[in-house]
């Protein structure tokens, strides 16, 4: 199964994990302490996040740290940008119409 960034953020717990490790890499235990669910559940979410390539594992000694691949988040922004473009093109057209109307009234 191919996973992508949108699966990464589809789940509220995973969104919370993303925010949690956005500023600093954390061990799975440290992450799990922030949630009421079981460590297994958090571990499963982390696994999915890794499959989505949004999260990378770094080994430091005996510890595993999870860190975000922030550039991956840009895919969400790019997806949203399509709507922005739709509105922008519509509004740019309105800019033109308004400029024409203004001249007509003078």
């Amino acid at each position: 199964m191919r996973r992508d960034i949108f699966q990464a953020i589809a789940d509220p717990t995973r969104r919370a994990i993303i925010l949690l490790i956005a500023s600093q890499a954390m061990t799975p235990n440290a992450i799990a302490e922030h949630f009421d669910t079981t460590r297994q559940a958090i571990s499963k979410h982390l696994h999915i996040l890794v499959e989505c390539e949004l999260v990378r594992q770094d080994h430091q000694g005996r510890e595993i740290y999870y860190r975000l691949e922030l550039t991956k988040m840009k895919e969400i922004d790019q997806w949203l940008d399509q709507f922005r473009k739709l509105w922008e093109s519509r509004f740019n057209e309105l800019d033109n119409v308004l400029a024409t109307l203004k001249n007509d009234r003078k």
Binding site: D4, I5, F6, Q7, I9, A10, P12, R15, A16, I18, L19, A22, L70, T71, M73, K74, I76, D77, W79, L80, Q82, F83, R84, L86, W87, E88, S89, R90, F91, N92, E93, L94, D95, N96, V97, L98, A99, L101, K102, R105
Partner: protein, 167 residues
């Protein structure tokens, strides 16, 4: 677009709303007309290469706008807005729907409530559009209509994160 004009677009999945804010370099009465008169709407409402074509419009509370988006191949998508509330040159609210060419409602298509507010800023007019859906499914169905990919997405906490990524 004049880069000095504000433009803001956001999707709020928690409240099933889309908010768009945009300034226009024209005085309020003109911008109001552009949003509420069919002969002007027809000139800009459809994103290119589509064109908007009004069948009937009656801009008053209880009135409606019935129009088609016409594609480059001549394909037509018909829409209908019921105007529910109008405060001249300040705000109007309407209920948006997809319809058949004769105006019959397509009941299994998403409907959205539009709340459009105009703010006079002298040379510039700020238009804020709030579009809200009854439920997330309808919001997502609407998003899905234009774009197949990527549906389960979105924002909440990420909204706050994204602007900092762009820097």
């Amino acid at each position: 677009m004049n880069s000095n004009l504000a433009f803001d677009f956001s999707v709020d999945k928690a409240n099933n709303t889309i908010t768009v804010k945009r300034e226009f370099a024209a005085e309020l009465p003109l911008v109001w007309d552009a949003y509420t008169k069919s002969e002007i709407l027809d000139q800009w409402w459809a994103p290119k290469p589509w064109k908007a074509r009004t069948k009937t419009m009656d801009f008053r509370e209880g009135g409606h706008w019935h129009y088609a988006m016409v594609g480059p191949e001549g394909e037509e998508h018909w829409s209908w807005i019921d105007y529910q509330h109008i405060q001249p040159q300040q705000n109007f609210k309407g209920l948006d729907a997809f319809v058949e060419p004769d105006g019959t409602l397509k009941t299994d298509w998403p409907r959205s409530a539009w709340d459009v507010t105009f703010a006079d800023k002298g040379e510039v007019t700020l238009v804020e559009i709030n579009i809200s859906y009854d439920d997330l499914a309808q919001l997502e169905a609407t998003l899905q209509m234009g774009f197949k990919e990527g549906l389960s997405m979105a924002m909440e906490g990420l909204d706050e994160l994204l602007p900092s990524l762009k820097k």
